[in-house]
């Protein structure tokens, strides 16, 4: 049950985030870049002005304990902060995408929720049936699917046009109660820079090797 985002439930610096998780600042920064630790940045302030919600960190921590391989397989890049504006945006987008990937591997919809805009939607076919609507359907599906620790995501495309972006993910070895075994998916995400953070506004998906309407 998420707690309300009252000011008292917010951590206002890397130091406070590190103390909350009982780790060093270096470790929690690495968790953010590599493992989707949900850390937010304030708009109109310098890049390293961060804050975090305790309930989001707690959800992340629970999933990490339950499904440690979420972490080990994560992207080995992004160790250092970027030196130019374009790369800073690129890194912010990959961080948002890693929240999605971490949630998918852990089978935890709440873990990926911070990566999405509140009005986000989804669309695509599952076993020949079209599903279009609220992103809540994705979170529910992820929860029902459960852990998919071997899921392997590759960035096929990251294209940024100022305030909007498109990310194409190729996912292999997807598994779980609903996904089955060794499934492959192509996902196209549209993102919007909203209140200083990149948020996914739409997830479009294609499951490979499934029946399509009108396919001959």
């Amino acid at each position: 049950m998420p707690e309300r985002n009252t000011p008292q439930k917010t951590l206002e610096s890397w130091k406070q985030i590190a103390a909350f998780l009982d780790r060093s600042e270096r470790t929690v920064r690495r968790w953010e870049t590599r493992e989707g630790l949900p850390v937010h940045r304030r708009e109109h302030e310098k890049q390293d002005t961060v804050f975090a919600f305790k309930h989001e960190l707690a959800a992340w921590s629970r999933a990490r304990t339950r499904c440690p391989s979420v972490i080990e397989r994560a992207e080995p890049l992004l160790a250092e902060p970027a030196s130019n504006t374009y790369l800073t945006e690129h890194d912010a987008i990959t961080r948002a995408m890693h929240r999605y990937i971490a949630g998918a591997r852990a089978g935890d919809g709440d873990l990926m929720r911070p990566a999405f805009h509140p009005c986000a939607t989804m669309s695509g076919y599952c076993q020949g049936v079209e599903y279009s609507g609220s992103i809540e359907h994705v979170f529910q599906w992820i929860n029902q699917n459960g852990p998919a620790p071997n899921g392997m995501a590759r960035f096929a495309r990251i294209e940024i046009i100022e305030s909007i972006a498109v990310v194409h993910l190729e996912v292999q070895r997807w598994s779980g109660k609903l996904a089955g075994a060794d499934a492959r998916a192509s996902d196209v995400f549209t993102l919007l820079k909203w209140q200083g953070e990149w948020k996914i506004t739409h997830k479009l998906f294609h499951w490979h090797d499934q029946m399509l309407p009108g396919a001959s």
């Binding site: 939607t121 909007i164 739409h202």
Partner: protein
Amino acid sequence: MSHSEYPTEYDGIVKTVEMYIDGSKQGKSELMRPAFHPDASFFGYAGDQLASGTKFLFDWIDKNGPAPGIEPRVVSVDIVDSIAVVRLEVAGWSGQLAGSGVRMSDLFTLLKTPTGWKIIQKAFHWHAGG
């Protein structure tokens, strides 16, 4: 998707995007509505304001009126079986609301449906200073 299907899918996708372009040019949302999926969404900033929802888009197009001088260019068309992404660059936007000489970048995501390729989301960036 086999090699020979690619041009067919490509043409279907571009045809759908052209309905958007025709509607924009003539200032008539009715021309572009059939290109959009019933659940389509729309996102982007008009100045500092976040615009969202296809209703906003269609109302805007109708109020903006004709924009005969737009110069649209398809920058990329990426197709993965039932889904696709199109990047469109449009220079020379004009009209009651657009003003003149405005440049817009659009990202369309499309879904293949039994009645053809439909736009499921349009995200745009309005370039300040044209």
